[in-house]
Symmetry: C2
Subunit: 259 residues, 2 copies
């Protein structure tokens, strides 16, 4: 039987609020078995970028990562956020290791192909080095991944943290029974976006289709759910969406997705 | 017989010049056996700090690390420099892992005690987790350490990179036959600071005393040499000081220190 692995992706709003972050890290550190944390950098990267006089370039409403913006992402995601989370987890006796996709050659990506837009230094994931990451897990380390990947030729990329989490979950499913947790400020996928208590407790491929058809899953939730089902279709056992409390396992008030 | 371990500390001038850095990394990647790279951030941290409007505070000519300066160090040393070196080493097929002292709980420190000056978030090294670092080395990883440590309670510190290198070398000497390389822009310890070719090829405890007495070792070289002999007195086999070429091992034009 495969050992269990929990992969927890935390959203920007949690990272930006020290109290929420430290509450979440407390719960995360208590998860039994192998675990991985995945984070972006929240608004901190934009704030630091602005202070450095680097303005986010947008084309057709989409953010472009030029060389300067990539440097800011490397500093904020790979440095400030990664190392502070790592130090906090160590204080909770969780043997964290802050990593980018370049560290331990963990996540290979390629520059997003130029179609209508050149997104700059944005990477689409090619492969996850599940053997290398497994070695770290088996040695008792808890990898903390930021939203950076590399091409194996010396170039780093900015890669969406949700995607990193799902690709890690897929890649590591060959060796572990993997559950992917998307942890954000809401209690789960809501039937009515204005009612915090309208959490849909279970979604499968069938109900997913009707939720899409009825427009209940829309806007920002669309790519998130796409990521989730992509993971489920590629051997990830289960995906959970909810707030920090879902990591307690004593509540069932969050959304569980299965095929 | 113990396995060999090479610990290479690279100076600011190498980090700041992309050509020198990539030359050095090429040589480093070819070193046989276990190896560790240690780096600071050069002037980059000061430049980024200045752009962010954070000016270095000085008291009696000594730099103070306040909370904002520490954040800059975490971003630049732990993020920008660490991740770029890691990505470059991966391109050279060296399985690098960019780390601070908090990662893998590698280096514990305590806030420097306040005597005449409160240095702020500067950490003096307490202990090196040689078992944890050994595990990574034995698993085939090459740790790349930046100049950051932690107290195990969630606080990161700025710690001199020369000190980190010598403390790592001392801590790991229990498990490895350790050689410590201080790699900078000069060919070694010079008898005459104005003559690049006056490299002193070998220094031991006896000749060290006379070089001190004659004022040949002075200024910035004093703390460096103190670090070196501190390492030798604590089971490090050999310390070498020179430029990148010393890593080639085909030259002997650098300074070797033994007890």
């Amino acid at each position: 039987m495969k050992e269990k692995l929990s992969i927890v992706k935390i959203g920007g709003n949690i990272i930006e609020d020290p109290k929420s972050l430290s509450h979440l890290l407390g719960l995360f550190s208590k998860i039994d078995g192998h675990k991985i944390l995945v984070h972006g950098g929240g608004k901190k990267a934009t704030q630091i970028g602005n202070k450095l006089g680097i303005t986010s370039k947008m084309v057709n409403g989409r953010r472009i990562t030029d060389a300067e913006s990539l440097d800011v992402a490397i500093m904020v995601y790979g440095g400030l956020v990664s190392k502070k989370i790592t130090a906090q987890l160590q204080a909770l006796e969780c043997n964290a290791l802050g990593m980018s996709g370049a560290d331990a050659n963990a996540i290979h990506a390629r520059k997003r192909p130029i179609k209508e837009i050149d997104f700059g230094w944005v990477g689409d994931v090619d492969s996850v080095n599940s053997k290398g990451i497994s070695k770290l897990l088996q040695a008792g380390f808890t990898p903390v991944f930021c939203a950076l990947t590399h091409d194996g030729k010396g170039q780093l990329f900015n890669t969406n943290a949700d995607t990193i989490a799902s690709e890690l979950a897929i890649g590591l499913s060959s060796e572990f029974e993997t559950t992917l947790y998307y942890c954000f400020e809401k209690k789960g996928v809501l039937r009515n976006i204005e009612d915090e208590n309208s959490v849909i407790q279970h979604i499968n491929s069938e109900t997913y289709k009707s939720l899409l058809a009825n427009g209940i899953i829309a806007d920002g939730m669309l790519p998130k759910m796409h990521n989730c089902f992509h993971a489920l279709e590629n051997n990830v056992k289960q995906v959970c969406i909810g707030d920090s409390e879902m990591l307690q396992q004593t509540t069932s008030n969050f959304t569980t997705l299965t095929l």
